[in-house]
């Protein structure tokens, strides 16, 4: 019996379980997935929790609902990856051997990387919304908050779902409007980037929205520490921004098993060939999703597109053929902009987000780089698509390669 081992049963690991079990002969191939948690979190939903749009039950389901029959599922922490020996050690003492392995351990927040962040104000006046705990704590805080300075800060690049912090401030604007207290809330967006976003045209469009909504942007701010007593964030070059409530995107890192196993870069992301998605260190190891050091967004949509390429290349590797499928870094993000509207951006390694219509050229129904009501429904529908189509590894009506059709240069 030959063995495929999948590390991490989040978005990417679950998709691969479904894709592989569908095609690989059960008499010949053993598929095992390992994850530390039994709950699958719909992470894009965390964004809506602080504003009372979703609650906890909207974003959690048992992982076991999504693994197909015929896959071995082990719930345990992964302790060590020993690539030279083709084996992995688990916290429960098990040693798992493999012929091929897929690493899909994602990325997580590391508030400990920033002095003063996880201190006396943590979850009192400083919150993250990248974890279920943080999102729920912020929900409680907002229920009784009477206004003041709301500061959002991004601590380090890269971080997953690069549009989520923007969406957060747009939704905050709408939320406080709805409560009739927008005039009492001062919203500031503090980022290490040179502007609201990286890519020029998207930045232009998003900066316009920021201005329209009276959200102040402070660019080129690289967080050094948080001063809990004076309630301000301080950058390496001495800039200071005071806050009454701070929403932080902490440093994002790969799981520390990469550090223990000597498989990660300085932020524990796994060096990966950006086209084939194969590990740069081991021929029989592939890397999917946020865990990889790819120069594209860390997002569920990217995981989905990457999964198609990884699947083809893994099949080729198994059959001894060259790896011909090439990932182009395709990313596609819905941006919630508040008041029932949304925007959408579509880009890859080489092409920045451009205006146009998507996915059908000239027709849409989604408007790229435009702020429309229909785009908002895209985001709403995404949750359904995520649970019912994406995780199950089914075909979506969007190509994994980015298309230039419908885009305006």
């Amino acid at each position: 019996m030959k063995k495929i081992l999948i590390l991490g049963g989040g978005t990417g690991g679950t998709i691969m379980c479904n894709k592989l079990r569908n095609v690989l002969d059960r008499e010949e191939w053993d598929i095992t997935v390992v994850d530390q948690f039994k709950t699958h979190y719909y992470q894009p939903g965390f964004l809506f929790i602080p504003f009372g749009i979703y609650n906890k039950n909207d974003v959690i389901k048992p992982k076991s609902d999504f693994f197909p029959p015929g896959v071995n599922v082990i719930y345990s922490k992964i302790e060590l990856i020993e690539g030279e020996k083709n084996q992995v050690k688990l916290a429960n003492g098990q040693i798992l051997k493999y012929d091929y392995m897929i690493i899909a351990t994602g990325t997580e927040t590391s508030p400990d990387e920033t002095p003063g962040l996880k201190d006396k104000l943590w979850y009192k006046e400083i919150f993250d919304f990248y974890t279920i705990e943080g999102a729920l704590a912020l929900r409680e805080f907002f229920k009784t908050w009477e206004g003041g300075k709301l500061v959002l800060n991004i601590a380090e690049l890269p971080f997953k779902c690069p549009v989520a912090p923007l969406e957060f401030v747009f939704l905050a604007d709408a939320y406080f409007h709805g409560l009739g207290m927008r005039d009492k809330v001062d919203i500031t967006y503090v980022t290490p980037l040179p502007g609201a976003f990286t890519k020029p045209r998207a930045t232009k469009m998003l900066s316009g929205l920021m201005e329209e909504k009276n959200i102040k942007v402070i660019p080129e701010f690289y967080l050094e520490h948080v001063d809990n007593d004076a309630k301000k964030i301080v950058s390496y070059d001495g800039q200071e921004v005071p806050f009454d409530v701070l929403t932080i995107i902490p440093v994002n890192k790969g799981n520390d098993v990469m550090e223990r196993s000597g498989l990660g870069d300085d932020l524990n992301f796994v060096p990966t060939d950006k086209y084939t998605l194969r590990s740069e260190k081991f021929e029989n190891v592939f890397v999917l999703g946020d865990a990889a050091n790819l120069p594209t967004s860390k997002a569920g949509a990217v995981v989905h597109f990457g999964a198609e390429v990884l699947f083809e290349n893994l099949m080729s590797a198994i059959e001894g053929r060259p790896l011909l499928a090439k990932f182009d870094g395709h990313a596609n993000c819905y941006i919630e902009t508040g008041f029932g509207k949304g925007s959408i951006i579509d880009f890859n390694y080489d092409t920045e987000p451009l205006p146009g219509s998507f996915p059908l050229p000239g027709v849409g129904p989604f408007g790229l780089l435009q702020n429309t009501r229909f785009n908002h429904y895209g985001k709403v529908i995404f949750r359904w698509v995520y649970w019912h189509i994406l995780l199950r590894g089914k075909e979506m009506p969007i190509s994994n390669e980015m298309s230039m059709a419908g885009k305006k240069l």
């Binding site: 690049l157 890269p158 980037l193 990286t198 690289y222 390496y236 070059d237 300085d266």
Partner: protein, 103 residues
């Protein structure tokens, strides 16, 4: 792209003044670009520049945090050496492409 004469050497630069071919770089070129940025280069600066050039040649993506962990200087030190946008400035002086942050 344009050709520019820096410190007596003809180098190819992009619109923002970054060298497009790192092999055209010399210490004198570095000193001249640094002067334009208002920086007087010391040995410490050159240690950072050489590190950046090595990493770039190996195809590694550079971040401020990474340079801060290089053992040459910490992040604060980097800001002192190259005030205001330390990675962008040091990359320009090191003759390597402008760092792109991908999100």
């Amino acid at each position: 792209m344009a050709t520019k004469n820096i410190a007596g050497v003809n180098v190819d630069v992009n619109e923002e003044g970054y060298l497009t071919d790192p092999s055209q770089w010399t210490k004198e070129v570095a000193a001249e670009i640094a002067k334009e940025e208002g920086i007087e280069l010391t040995d410490k600066h050159f240690e950072v520049l050489n590190y950046l050039r090595d990493e770039n040649e190996k195809g590694n993506v550079l971040t401020i945090r990474k340079v801060g962990k290089s053992g040459i200087t910490d992040i604060k030190g980097l800001y002192t050496l190259f005030p205001g946008g330390p990675l962008k400035k040091s990359s320009k002086i090191a003759g390597i492409p402008k760092p792109t942050s991908c999100v």
